[in-house]
């Protein structure tokens, strides 16, 4: 391979072939939806979704169908059984909660024991038995929650498949079914309405693309100077961890979600915003309120606001549960558990501080205005970076 191509491959490799392929699928499907009126109709979009899911999951397609099909059949069975109960709402809610627990346990344990790598051979291809990717599980948890709580009615198979296979949400962001359902009426909107949004969307697309490219560039830079076998000192590695690494991740994924947010409207679908300048926030609460918002809002709504059967929620316990689950959602291993615990403990410390703010009045008086203004954002940034950087060191110490 010529040198420039080798160099390009080196830059792209960190983000993976899946992401590039998925981006291509999204762009092509958006162009198709814009170009052909028939494809903008629900049946046309359904067809595009099915094609996208085949391209995206490929050999894991069987696992995807099995996982989503099981969840849908479970919801259908609960819905049917609830009709014959005295208190159908309570029955539906309890069984849906049980379904969520089973799904989450299968997801966490399945990844820990690598169930998702189990496969069988058919037609010369090895087919994956389970599809346990983080965004699919989050989508399925939200629909179980929404149907179970009575927030939405059980969708038809057609609508369910359409929603679960939406190309713009396969790798995130999360569009809850209730949000998707509200938009179904806008699918056949006129081209005039589409055009009125186009300038804004093109600008957003360009910004997203720029962010992704910058993210890829920084990821490549980081890999080439601090990758395996690098001779950097600990201090140099620390500097990279606190400067390049967080920005490369944020730019890459923030840009990617921005691209999805700008492509989805070509289908008549609006996605929720995912990132809102998370770095530079004054505290961990503000950081998480602006980081991967479509996903973190689920953890907040379902776990942080959960009283777990008690009269009053214990915010500290709930915080630790939330962040432990955030960690496990990323990966069932020591690194992500520690990542979640560190964020949980940091968030608890912030909650305690905000409840006892008056005790720190003396300390705050000792700081002049500009010092006070920068202390929060700098401390938050350093803590967030530490949560990415420190877990491997802590794990090494523990072992």
């Amino acid at each position: 391979m010529p040198d420039p191509l080798m160099a390009l491959a080196r830059w792209i490799s960190p983000i993976g072939v899946v992401l590039v392929l998925h981006l291509a699928v999204c762009v092509v499907s958006a162009i198709l939806a814009l170009a052909f009126a028939t494809l903008r109709k629900p049946s046309g979009l359904f067809l595009l979704s099915v094609i996208a899911i085949i391209v995206f999951y490929r050999t894991s397609l069987f696992g995807f169908v099995l996982t989503t099909g099981t969840v849908f059949l479970f919801m259908l069975a609960v819905d049917r059984a609830a009709r014959h109960r005295k208190d159908p709402a309570r029955f539906r809610w309890r069984l849906s909660c049980a379904g969520i627990l089973v799904l989450v346990a299968a997801f966490v344990l399945g990844r820990a024991w690598q169930f998702d790598s189990q496969s069988f051979s058919l037609g010369g291809v090895r087919w994956g038995l389970l599809a346990l990717d983080m965004w699919l599980v989050l989508r399925l948890v939200t629909i179980l929650w929404e149907v179970g709580s009575g927030r939405i009615k059980l969708p038809t198979v057609f609508r369910f498949v359409f929603w679960v296979a939406l190309p713009f949400t396969l790798l995130g962001p999360l569009l809850r079914y209730s949000q998707f359902e509200q938009q179904l009426t806008s699918l056949g909107q006129s081209s005039e309405t589409r055009q009125s949004h186009s300038a804004k969307l093109i600008k957003r697309f360009a910004l997203g693309l720029f962010q992704v490219l910058l993210g890829v560039l920084l990821t490549g830079l980081q890999a080439s100077i601090a990758g395996p076998g690098s001779s950097l000192s600990r201090l140099q590695k620390l500097l990279i961890a606190f400067s390049i690494a967080p920005w490369s991740f944020y730019l890459l994924w923030g840009g990617y979600y921005k691209l999805m947010e700008s492509l989805a409207p070509s289908w008549g679908i609006t996605l929720p915003q995912s990132f809102n300048r998370p770095f530079g926030r004054r505290n961990l609460s503000e950081f998480w309120a602006n980081w991967n918002m479509s996903a973190t809002s689920v953890f907040r709504d379902y776990l942080f606001f959960n009283r777990l059967g008690f009269a009053r929620a214990n915010v500290y316990v709930n915080t630790l549960i939330v962040f432990l689950m955030v960690g496990l959602w990323h990966g069932s291993n020591g690194y992500w558990i520690l990542f979640g615990l560190m964020h949980g403990l940091g968030f608890c410390a912030y909650l305690w501080y905000s409840r006892n703010r008056s005790r720190f009045a003396l300390l705050r008086r000792g700081l002049v205005d500009w010092q006070f203004r920068y202390t929060g954002p700098v401390a938050t940034y350093l803590y967030v970076c530490s949560c990415w950087f420190l877990p491997p060191t802590i794990l090494k110490l523990i072992r």
């Binding site: 929650w145 179970g148 927030r151 609460s285 503000e286 309120a289 709504d301 379902y302 959960n306 009053r312």
Partner: protein, 82 residues
């Protein structure tokens, strides 16, 4: 005596005004994440205050949806009518 939507709205707005220390006239513009003090923790406190005010208990799945005065009023109304 059944409370009207207007009565419920007024009591919700009073609770919000007391909680976030804003004049009652400005309550309608409040929203979770829109007011600097209405964060996740304040939200839990607010839910408790509303529950105490109306003597009811919101189920878990409703708490995340009580994001502005209108949503709170309509949820309270639903529970009061039950």
């Amino acid at each position: 005596m059944t409370e009207t939507t207007n009565d419920i709205q007024q009591r919700v707005e009073k609770t919000l005004a007391r909680m976030f220390d804003v004049p009652p006239g400005e309550v309608s513009g409040l929203g979770m994440g829109l007011h600097p003090r209405w964060d996740s923790m304040a939200h839990m406190e607010l839910v408790m205050q509303i529950e105490k005010e109306f003597g009811l208990r919101f189920p878990t799945y409703e708490i995340g949806e009580l994001v502005n005065p209108a949503a709170i009023t309509s949820a309270v109304e639903r529970h009061v009518q039950k």
